[in-house]
């Protein structure tokens, strides 16, 4: 085993994902370059990867969010942008972790709608979603139907 010397120590990396009809990753990147002070910004097909000191990254992310608050989503990333252990340029195929994000991108429009709707509606008045842990018991009518189907 060889010695490992880390790079970008003390920095954070965040994904800024955009799923909007009005803002594109390029718009985000241009705005990001305008306001950044010493951060690394990489434009991707889904948004941006921003790397730098925590306060600076948070400031940029807060500013970028203002462009379309209900359609811009942010999450942390462990690796810096372009890291050879994760970047698809080195590995070939999709970046590990991309498939998870790809799946969530199909759900994000509903979440964005929820965020927009809650600006006009009171969250307390919205009914609770179905409890996924609730396992409803088989009701007697369905059981009778099943028995009948089995008999005939």
């Amino acid at each position: 085993m060889t010695e490992y010397t880390p790079t970008h120590v003390g920095t954070v990396t965040k994904y800024v994902v955009v799923e909007s009809f009005e803002v594109t990753p390029t718009d985000l990147a241009l705005r990001g370059y305008e306001i950044s002070k010493g951060t690394m910004i990489k434009e991707t097909c889904f948004g941006l990867v921003v790397n730098g000191k925590e306060e600076e990254v948070d400031r940029i992310v807060t500013e970028l969010r203002k462009m379309d608050p209900d359609h811009i989503f942010v999450k942390d990333r462990g690796f810096p942008p372009g890291d050879s252990r994760r970047c698809r340029a080195n590995l070939g195929g999709a970046r590990p972790g991309y498939h998870g994000m790809e799946y969530e991108m199909t759900v994000i429009p509903y979440v964005s709608h929820g965020l927009e709707a809650l600006e006009k509606r009171d969250a307390a008045a919205v009914p609770a979603p179905k409890d996924p842990l609730e396992k409803p018991a088989l009701d007697i009518l369905t059981l009778k139907k099943l028995i009948k189907a089995q008999e005939s």
Binding site: M1, T2, E3, Y4, T5, P6, H8, V9, G10, T11, V12, T13, Y15, V17, F73, V74, K75, D76, R77, G78, F79, D83, R85, R86, P96, G97, H99, G100, M101, Y103, E104, V107, I108, P109, Y110, V111, S112, H113, G114, L115, A117, L118, R121, A123, A124, V126, P127, A128, P129, K130, D131, P132, L133
Partner: protein
């Protein structure tokens, strides 16, 4: 501001909604970053060294495969720190090898054992469910206190 464990730990939606409401999401990226930025022996891609399965013994027994124990060394400390948890139950994206599958089961088990506020949800499948999903998270995080 509360530390909220999110499951799936890589979820973009949960991570965003938790930080949007002023709380700290505990996601796998934080644990990975900690290892990536620590000097030591080269062990690509995630810098998981042979030491990690030993650390994982705190949360999984010795006869549990090293893959699960190694993964638990990432998630275990975060579960201990967690002051609340949001769990998505139909997260098919969290699938993987048996190591991932068993670790996911263990994570959910440890969270359910822990006496902290928990919110169980499914991914929304239409716009109305989207509103209910966001409202449930908003209410849950609001009850934790701190900025809303």
């Amino acid at each position: 501001m509360a530390k909220v464990f999110i499951y799936p730990a890589t979820s973009l939606i949960l991570s965003d909604l938790v930080s949007r409401h002023g709380h700290t999401p505990l996601s796998s990226a934080i644990a990975v970053r900690e290892r990536i930025q620590t000097a030591g022996l080269e062990s690509p891609p995630l810098q998981i060294t042979p030491e990690e399965p030993k650390k994982g013994l705190k949360w999984a027994a010795v006869e549990v495969p090293a893959g699960v124990r190694g993964r638990m060394s990432l998630y275990g400390p975060m579960i201990e720190q967690a002051e609340a948890a949001i769990i998505i139950n139909d997260a098919d994206l969290a699938f993987g090898c048996m190591g991932c599958a068993r670790t996911n089961e263990l994570i959910k088990f440890l969270l359910r054992q822990k006496d902290i506020p928990k919110l169980d949800l499914n991914y929304p499948k239409n716009e109305e469910e989207g509103v209910q999903f966001v409202a449930a998270i908003k209410r849950f995080l609001g009850e934790l206190g701190g900025p809303k």
